[in-house]
């Protein structure tokens, strides 16, 4: 009998983390695009992109250092909310957010920079509020790029392994996500079980990429 819990845990983790990554990534990307000081811009860009170049276990190490029981934030949550972050389900979300963030941030930034700045200025001279300009002009015209960034980030969060293992561990029914389950089954010699999980991951990832291409092609066709 196949254990379905890794599928549910993974779906839950990937869904919540993409919500966070998507909006935070958008806001941060917009902030960086608008930033005038080049030095700060380069430094911040480096920090936001780092998780994608570092080995996931190294990112996990840093996260454990911060969110672990002795880490500053981890300590804070234990003292004030009696909530332990490390090795709980929320740790899988934190790991997925941090690891998928660079993909969302970089795609959104690139998509924003592609939008002709005259469009934004035109909106301003026509009396549109900055809020309306952001959503109706910048966001709408950058949408194909933003969606593909979002889907890539979703897929990355779904497949997250290294940092999750470091921060959340591999507790069956709690923090055992699909990639963890594959690893565990193989380690235990159950190749058949592992194969089932692999199939599920491949199907979800394929659907995600299919949606991404479908949406961006349809959007572009509509405007032409």
């Amino acid at each position: 009998m196949m254990d379905w819990s890794p599928i549910f845990i993974s779906m839950k983790t990937a869904s919540l983390s993409i919500l966070i990554t998507f909006f935070v990534g958008l806001v941060v990307a917009w902030g960086i695009v608008k930033m005038k000081n080049d030095t700060i811009k380069i430094v911040l860009d480096g920090i936001f992109t780092l998780p994608i170049v570092l080995p996931p276990t190294v990112v996990g190490f840093f996260l454990l250092y911060i969110f672990g029981v002795r880490g500053p934030i981890g300590r804070f949550f234990i003292d004030f909310f009696t909530v332990k972050i490390a090795f709980s389900w929320s740790a899988t979300v934190i790991a997925a957010v941090v690891m998928s963030f660079p993909l969302m941030y970089r795609s959104a930034r690139g998509a924003f920079e592609q939008v002709d700045s005259n469009l934004l200025d035109a909106g301003r001279t026509l009396g549109m509020s900055e809020w309306k300009i952001f959503w109706k002009i910048l966001f709408a015209n950058a949408l194909p790029g933003i969606i593909s960034g979002g889907i890539l980030a979703y897929a990355r969060g779904l497949g997250e392994f290294g940092a999750t293992a470091m921060l959340a561990g591999n507790i069956a029914g709690q923090t055992r996500t699909l990639p963890m389950a594959v690893y565990s089954e193989v380690a235990a010699g159950n190749m058949g079980e592992a194969f089932n999980y692999v199939i599920v991951i491949v199907i979800i990832s394929f659907i995600a990429i299919f949606i991404m291409d479908y949406v961006s092609i349809r959007k572009e066709k509509q405007w032409r």
């Binding site: 005259n118 200025d121 301003r124 001279t125 709408a140 015209n141 949408l143």
Partner: protein, 345 residues
């Protein structure tokens, strides 16, 4: 219109030079003429509030005075609050919005639909309401952009080289359309251009900018007739310009063409250059005044003009019919002493 005026006084440090512009606009249409990168667009963007100058004042006086920008009083209205329409070079239509949505984008909900349908009718866009900008021709795009600006009811319209990226045929057609569309607009309009024809056609008053400084301002006809400065003469399309040495009150020697010219007006001492428009030559006798020998000149045929380059580098343009392919260069040509333009550097 009589008591309205737009005051613009801007200083801004740019990479290549400092922008330093100061003018007051009382007539309806102003043109800013200058080579590319002279600070024209920067001036417009400062008026619209897209760019903030380092110091200065931008204000519009109608029944009351609206201060857009005043560095000493620390006033800097957002572009949203200035009520200034800006026609961008590429029109900057929103590609994700239909024609209707583009025209109505700056309006508040209440009277939205009425104004939009009014504008659609006025700019002959009926039937195109649901199209996206990419599905429109260049002319239709221009009309949508103008409809969008006028729907918003601006006090001032700024036109940023609206025709620079177009082929000649479309350009001439759209120029005419633009002039017609703006003829019943009661506010000020300022057009930035590097094209002397556009400036001449469109503007009552003209400012000539070079490296961020105003080198000429005044009535458009005056500036074209009497450019006074070398750069202004060049920008208004004077083909022949030479450095000169003053001989006496009515004679000067061209250093580039190696000959002496008689001038009808008295030559002021600050004159350093002279100009002759390529159309101002005419066939002559050997003993006429200001006669030039055409020996060794080259002849070039254009559809409606003969272009003759003399051995000393002077250009002469002579009108012709399209089916006329024969031209004999007269042995001598002359330029009337009153047609010689006196210039200072």
């Amino acid at each position: 219109m009589s008591n309205k005026f737009l005051k613009v006084k801007i200083q801004k440090e740019l990479k290549e030079f400092d922008l330093n512009v100061d003018f007051e606009l009382k007539k309806k249409r102003l043109g800013i003429l200058g080579p590319s990168g002279c600070g024209k667009s920067m001036t417009l963007k400062s008026i619209a509030g897209i760019v903030t100058p380092d110091s200065g004042v931008v204000s519009l006086s109608t029944a009351e005075e609206i201060v857009y920008f005043d560095s000493t009083k620390k006033i800097n209205l957002k572009p949203q609050k200035r009520n200034v329409g800006y026609l961008f070079q590429n029109y900057a239509l929103f590609p994700n919005m239909t024609v209707e949505e583009n025209v109505g984008c700056g309006l508040t909900k209440d009277d939205d639909e009425k104004i939009v349908s009014e504008m659609i009718k006025r700019f002959h866009l009926e039937g195109l309401e649901k199209r996206y900008p990419r599905q429109l021709s260049g002319g239709q795009q221009q009309r949508v952009a103008l409809a969008r600006i006028l729907a918003y009811g601006p006090d001032v319209i700024l036109l940023d080289e609206p025709f620079s990226a177009m082929d000649t045929f479309l350009k001439e057609q759209l120029r005419l359309e633009l002039i017609n569309s703006l003829s019943d607009f009661d506010g000020f309009s300022i057009m930035v251009t590097h094209d002397r024809d556009e400036a001449f056609q469109f503007c009552d008053e003209l400012i000539v900018l070079d490296e961020g400084k105003i080198i000429a301002k005044g009535d458009t006809y005056d500036i074209f007739e009497n450019p006074k400065r070398v750069q202004v003469a060049r920008l208004t399309g004077c083909k022949n310009i030479s450095e000169v040495e003053i001989i006496d009150d009515h004679h000067l020697k061209s250093l580039d063409w190696g000959m002496v010219f008689e001038v009808s007006e008295k030559i002021p001492s600050n004159i350093t250059h002279m100009g002759i428009r390529a159309h101002d030559f005419s066939p002559a006798q050997e003993d006429d005044v200001n006669v030039i020998d055409t020996v060794n000149s080259t002849l070039l045929e254009m559809p409606f003009e003969w272009e003759i380059t003399l051995a000393n580098g002077l250009w002469w343009k002579c009108d012709k019919k399209i089916d006329d392919h024969q031209f004999t260069i007269p042995k001598y040509i002359k330029v009337d002493p009153k047609d010689i333009i006196l210039l200072e550097d």
